[in-house]
Amino acid sequence: MTVKIRFFARFRELLGTDIMTDVVAGMMFSSLITTIAKKNPEGYDAIFDEKGTFREFVILMKNGKRIDIADAAKTPVEDGDEIAVFPPVAGG
């Protein structure tokens, strides 16, 4: 089961992007990102607070749909999903 993780802006600089990763069935959104982010302490720290929960400004998407931070621990990832994690937008 493979999913694609996309980080943007500062998160991309710290953790890379377009990360294809194999996941086990039943893996939750927050667990997946925690695992990936731990590869770089600074990247982890940018996304998670000291309790290990997403910082409140972090934006999560699954296949282009917004996922609330409160729902990330109970949202499973599925084969072929595109997962995105990014800081507040600043276009325009």
Binding site: R6, F8, A9, R10, R12, E56, F57, I59, M61, G64, K65, R66, A84, F86, P87, P88, V89, A90, G91, G92
Partner: protein
């Protein structure tokens, strides 16, 4: 035209093409790289999603302000001071709708389209903080 692209656009051409039947006013918003002691600006987008959001915003604005034409071109990549970042062209029958539609579009882009800007300076770079800390509450 709704686009996220590296290339610049010819605003004169856009205005000419925006003048659909019934047009009485065209408003152009041109967002420009400002010289805040920077060398360049680098823009990054979550392209598919950003384009879809721009299309939704254009549709909402068209309906809400009875616009006759909307262009939104957001550039990405490295841009020098003075270059166009974002060009919004709207046409309407009357100026009230044209101004209101233009303003609606730029505020919606600032609030919720996944695009980021990094100001490059002699000493490195800094990501521009968004005006809306939490982004748009929901995304279609």
């Amino acid at each position: 035209m709704i686009a996220i692209q590296l290339a610049d656009v010819d605003i004169g051409d856009l205005i000419r093409a925006a003048k659909k039947h019934g047009t009485g006013a065209v408003i152009v918003f041109d967002g420009v790289v400002r010289d805040d002691d920077i060398t360049e600006m680098e823009l990054e987008a979550y392209e598919d999603i950003a384009k879809q959001e721009l299309q939704n915003i254009a549709k909402d604005a068209t309906e809400q302000f009875r616009l006759l034409h909307v262009d939104i071109i957001h550039r990405i990549g490295r841009l020098a001071v003075g270059e166009n970042i974002l060009v919004i062209v709207v046409a309407a029958g009357h100026r009230e709708e044209a101004y209101a539609g233009s303003r609606y579009i730029i505020e919606a882009i600032k609030a919720g389209v996944p695009i980021w800007k990094k100001e490059l300076t002699k000493n490195g770079g800094r990501w521009v903080p968004g005006e809306h800390g939490h982004g748009r509450p929901k995304t279609s």
